[in-house]
Symmetry: C2
Subunit: 263 residues, 2 copies
């Protein structure tokens, strides 16, 4: 059996954020499997079959990839960002555990990628420069009560927070409710950042406060971050080679030190 | 003023994990500034000055980098992993905020990198595949009581956890105490992972339980992860092209779904 399976992260969008390790895996692959918009980020070439599938098809997609590798193919499963952060790696292992026993002898690797969270954080400065947490705000796969509980405990721990999947057409009210919980727990002055489609032509950034934030500021392509009580702003001065948007967006960072705060 | 400053992440160690964006910045730089072992990861070449400094010199290093850029140099500040996760980006913004007003007009960018956390997670499977938090266990810059408080709240939230700086010669007892707190909060059966020097020739992995874990399993180069209550093991079968160590280390993953657990 000469097949293999690599679960890789394509990063947030820009080609300059794809690691050489992932590019090498894609160059050797016979099959690329994933959500259609991510599969389409891999250029077609002779000898490569691209298997794009719909959203919410993760387990069927993982089974297909495992079966292709078992058949001797060189299979790359693509995720946006990092495959281990709310992406295909967990789905792959769910399918592996529940699937054919011989799949466990396959040569499987997970290759990390630049997560949306790290790309968004870099764009606005260093908001995750101190202890932080990362929460998927979708309640497709967990009860909403658990999301609220985690938001309250994260605020009590004074973590900076990164939120994936803040808002979808299927759940327009969830993010508004999350903002309410956060305003109650952190106060209206707390900083919140909306980073949409970072490293793509559609990139946009917005820095505001929980008091000013509305649910409409996020969509499915937005990574949302909320600062800790220590997170600070620095206004940028005009100059340098930055775009007009970047000049008008302040830097946001969370200092490395905290002297007794929250303890 | 034609200088610029880029704060970049070199990833966890392997060259194949450095993004093309970071490689391009290094190729254009006149000066590289950072902690000596990281500066030494950048190959010397004519026209490049490497400024290596000691650990715990972060603010002085950041000031030096800002001044070089203000003088018209093209400056890259290097961190291991991602610059925004317990690394140089926060220090840079601390120095920027406290420093010369004209520094705020500099062309500054943060370029993300593969964090140790994402690399370690990929190596063992997908332990951070559901909500998680990331805590620096060093009490150099925050009170120990705050670390313990965050550990207890993270356990209550049922986050998977990633820990940076678990252990140093200056604080041999801190990590043993953290393990005690976690055992008390999560029970002895909870999975814990030690990923040392991932992607380097010194890489080693160990998966065990909190009941079996000892402080000696971690050193300064170890990224430690603790699963949530949902985190699971899959034994690998022999076969494929994996190393003996990887064959003997089980896969660890946290499923995407949770049905009421912890809520």
């Amino acid at each position: 059996m000469s097949g293999w399976l690599k679960v890789v992260g394509l990063g947030p969008g820009g080609d300059a954020l794809i690691t050489p390790e992932v590019s090498a895996a894609l160059a050797e692959a016979t099959d690329v499997v994933g959500y259609l918009p991510y599969v389409e980020r891999v250029a077609p070439r002779p000898g490569l079959t691209r298997h794009g599938s719909d959203n919410r098809e993760e387990i069927r997609r993982a089974e297909q990839a495992l079966q292709l590798a078992a058949n001797g193919q060189r299979v790359v499963v693509v995720s946006s960002g990092d495959p281990g952060v709310f992406a295909m790696a967990a789905a792959l292992f769910e399918a592996l555990e529940a699937g054919e026993p011989e799949w466990r002898a396959l040569d499987i690797q997970v290759l990390p990628g630049i997560s949306a969270m790290l790309a968004a954080s870099a764009r606005v400065g260093a908001p995750l420069g101190h202890d932080f947490c990362c929460i998927n705000l979708s309640d497709n796969l967990k009860p909403w009560a658990l999301i609220e509980k985690r938001l309250r405990l994260a605020a009590e721990a004074d973590f900076a927070m990164a939120f994936y999947n803040p808002r979808s057409r299927a759940r327009p009210e969830g993010f508004a409710r999350a903002l309410e919980v956060l305003r109650e727990a952190c106060g209206p002055e707390r900083l919140i950042m909306f980073a949409r489609a970072v490293s793509t032509p559609e990139e946009s950034l917005r820095v505001t406060t929980l008091g000013e934030a509305t649910a409409e500021m996020a969509d499915m392509r937005t990574l949302v971050m909320v600062g800790s009580s220590q997170t600070r702003l620095i206004q940028r001065h005009a100059g340098g080679a930055e775009s007009a948007e970047r000049e008008s967006t302040p830097w946001v960072y969370t200092p490395r030190s905290v002297s007794g705060a929250g303890s």
